[in-house]
Symmetry: C2
Subunit: 476 residues, 2 copies
């Protein structure tokens, strides 16, 4: 029998050979494209064998951890980022001061309700910017709605009640961000809709594709309603939401209790961290690449957005390591306060305008550190077409998506007719398993996927640097 | 400040909108393609909202676990598979008897070496089909090589030594299966090369992209060498391999110890599990879809290949659930013994020939359960072109790769000029973190990624069923 094994293995081995997507594409490439193909391959080779992003991320997530705007950890992250940019060898590194909102969670939240004499504990967390409950919590009957429209129709029925927003993700949407977009309004505006009706609290089904036991925090706001109509708002886990919905059918008068201690303190000083490599030909033109340094407090801010931060710096590292100097100035920015205010983004854009800086392009990574899928492009028709023409150079790395779409919260304030803004789009399937929860931790990030992302971003920055500036009229 | 929040959120929200890849493509579709697009979308909708594969996989991995050929667990898996196929409502379900190799690991392996008075324990596991060490283990000096060519050149230098194969994955290869292909020869044939030189053992660096602490098992063979030249072969973790290589530089005479108790028992009876839905128009034509039911013993056989098994059955489930009857007969096969013998595959192909069955196509899922990327196609030019013409129907689901390549170990024995064989190709980046280790467990599988795979497979089976048979001459 053992004599047969080598033959069997050979058959198996030959049959197992997978399509080779490992070489730079060949065939119908122009001379210029051949150079580009070789350089892009070199970025990938360097990232996959000498990449630093994974260890940077380990450091940020394990030694600092969650870093909500205004927290001591956010300040540590600023110092960490500044030092790291210097270590990488950026030409210059500086901090941009910015005042940020300072919301704190306080003690761990508690929620439960009782049906048939049995107490059911509910995984819960306060939403960012929510007010606290009274010291002893809120207890009230629950009224369930599926969306803001149903909530708006409640009127007096909401009085004295806790309004339960139970709209679930549409799991048939392939891109999970679209499902998020369809639901997140409940979280953001729920309290501002039902506070004026006299509701005493809001609980929101967590923003996730999964049915699990983790509450997902995230930002909310009270809009223009008077302060005395502010009511506490919390997220409960998706499984608890399904159970509560079931229990309400047989026990419509059950009382729900929750308690939270969060508060909004005065704005706090913080910083964007900025580093740049001066351009060799047209240094007055700037290409910016960034992610956000702040994160929610429940996890370690790994996929949101530690990965975007370390990938953005790795773009600069890969240029430097390969001795390829950008023609335009390459600026790496670790933005502060994306999660609850985007103050850093606005300050960066304001200063760019004040200083008459000429941004020709921007790239943001804030959709997780999963395996690369492509980029979304927010640019004029001409530049969109130019970027899409690079498809054959990018496809060997799984970068097939080059669609029109938004770029990201931190660079979109730079939007202007001549500016090409791009969002890095990794695979989205797992993202909302972790997003804004205690599960957004380092161990959920795969080293190769992270590095492939860094190299993908470097590839498109390289192409934009080489080809966009030729099409760009420098502003006076 | 809070007045600003809704505006900030709105800006953030709009800027966060991701490209919409959620709708069936539109534009230049023919009437037929519109029907196809709608049906494929329906398969995805059903998989993502009523899919069963994840719970089936939970059952297989948590209640049965690892299921090496010939083991009691493999037998339980056969019974599980037969019952499950009946539950799903296949028209007929049967078992194909097949004798399989029966190798057993025995007690946990041990390995260590001592440098500067300090004992270093080494994570180790025997390779499949390896002989045991003597009862008290093997102790010998180590000679390191990077590949089979270096091993072949050793000659007498290997005498009395443990040969250490330390060829690492080429991490610059984007498709990790290509890196595996470049290394796995060490594991498969290493002992057959150095046994005749008088080496006393083989240790092989684990087949992985990572540097970690998990030994990866896998099959090996002794080829045609005489039985008295059989030497024990084991895998050590990649981190231990790097450390050993470092230590050998300063301590070239260090002695390595390992002990393992594995043995090959007489062949054991087992089965392929087969179920089919009769075709509505040309039932004599068969399309087969499958994965392998056996797995290595160290983990739970989740990604290898529990995912392929449950996805294959979910193809049938999605046809049935949507009331779409295949025109040709759709046959689901859970193959036995892919890991160490492919006896099930050969028996299936043998019976197909004996019974003059007309297989027109086959699809195998045995590359993990990660997010879909596409398919590799092993077919004649005409059918390859036909499959590639479906790109616009498949691209909305991230299925961009439609390249020529191998299909899979279990269906490749069906290879014939008219037969179209296809391998399902999910993303490969994480696969070799788990492959053949104790980490290949249920928790590494993402529900949506698994379901997207099932639907992807159903989509291409649907298209092959509809269009291939028209091009297929039924054999006499």
């Amino acid at each position: 029998m053992t004599r047969l094994i080598p033959l069997m293995i050979l058959i198996w081995f030959v049959s197992c050979q997978k399509p080779n997507t490992n070489l730079p594409i060949s065939g119908t490439l122009s001379e210029n494209e051949k150079i580009d193909s070789t350089n892009i391959k070199q970025f990938f080779n360097t990232a996959l064998t000498q990449g630093q992003s994974y260890e940077w991320l380990r450091d940020l997530t394990q030694n600092i951890g969650g870093r909500l705007s205004g927290s001591p950890e956010a300040q540590k992250a600023v110092e960490w980022g500044e030092q790291l940019m210097k270590n990488v060898g950026m030409d210059s590194v500086w901090l941009q001061p910015v005042m940020v909102p300072h919301w704190v969670r306080g003690d761990k939240e508690v929620a439960y309700y009782t049906v048939n004499g049995k107490r059911k504990n509910v995984p819960v967390c306060a939403l960012g910017f929510s007010v606290a409950t009274p010291k002893n919590g809120v207890t009230a009957e629950v009224i369930e709605v599926k969306n803001l429209a149903e909530a708006r129709a409640l009127g007096d029925k909401a009085k004295g009640k806790i309004v339960f927003f139970n709209g679930a993700f549409d799991n048939t949407l392939i891109n999970t961000f679209s499902a998020y977009g369809g639901c997140v309004g409940q979280r953001v505006r729920g309290a501002s809709v039902v506070g004026p009706f006299g509701a005493v609290g809001v609980i929101v089904r967590s923003m996730t594709n999964s049915v699990d036991d983790y509450p997902h925090t995230g930002t909310m706001g009270y809009g223009d309603i008077p302060k005395d109509q502010y009511i506490p708002a919390a997220a409960i886990s998706s499984r608890a939401a399904e159970q509560l919905s079931t229990d309400l059918k047989t026990n419509p008068n059950l009382k729900f209790f929750f308690k939270q201690h969060c508060q909004t303190l005065p704005d706090a000083p913080s910083f964007n961290v900025v580093g740049e490599i001066k351009g060799s030909e047209t240094p007055e033109n700037i290409i910016v690449v960034g992610g956000h340094l702040d994160s929610w407090d429940l996890g370690e801010g790994a996929h949101d957005d530690g990965t975007g931060v370390v990938q953005s710096l790795e773009v600069a590292y890969l240029f430097l390591k390969n001795g390829i100097r950008p023609k335009n100035t390459l600026r790496v920015v670790f933005f502060m306060n994306e999660e609850n205010g985007t103050r850093g983004a606005k300050e960066y854009a304001r200063l760019a305008k004040v200083n008459k800086e000429n941004h020709i392009a921007g790239l943001e990574s804030d959709a997780g550190g999963h395996t690369p899928r492509g980029f979304s492009i927010d640019a004029n028709e001409k530049n969109t077409g130019l970027l899409q023409s690079w498809k054959k150079l990018l496809a060997p790395y799984g970068l097939h998506d080059l669609l029109k779409g938004g770029s990201g919260a931190d660079i979109s304030p730079l939007r202007d007719d001549g500016v090409t803004l791009v969002g890095y789009r990794p695979d989205s399937q797992r993202y909302f398993d972790y997003h804004h929860t205690s599960r957004d931790t380092f161990d959920k990030v795969n080293k190769r996927e992270l590095e492939l992302g860094s190299a993908s971003m470097t590839g498109i920055i390289y192409l934009m640097d080489k080809y966009l500036y030729q099409n760009q009229t420098v502003k006076p």
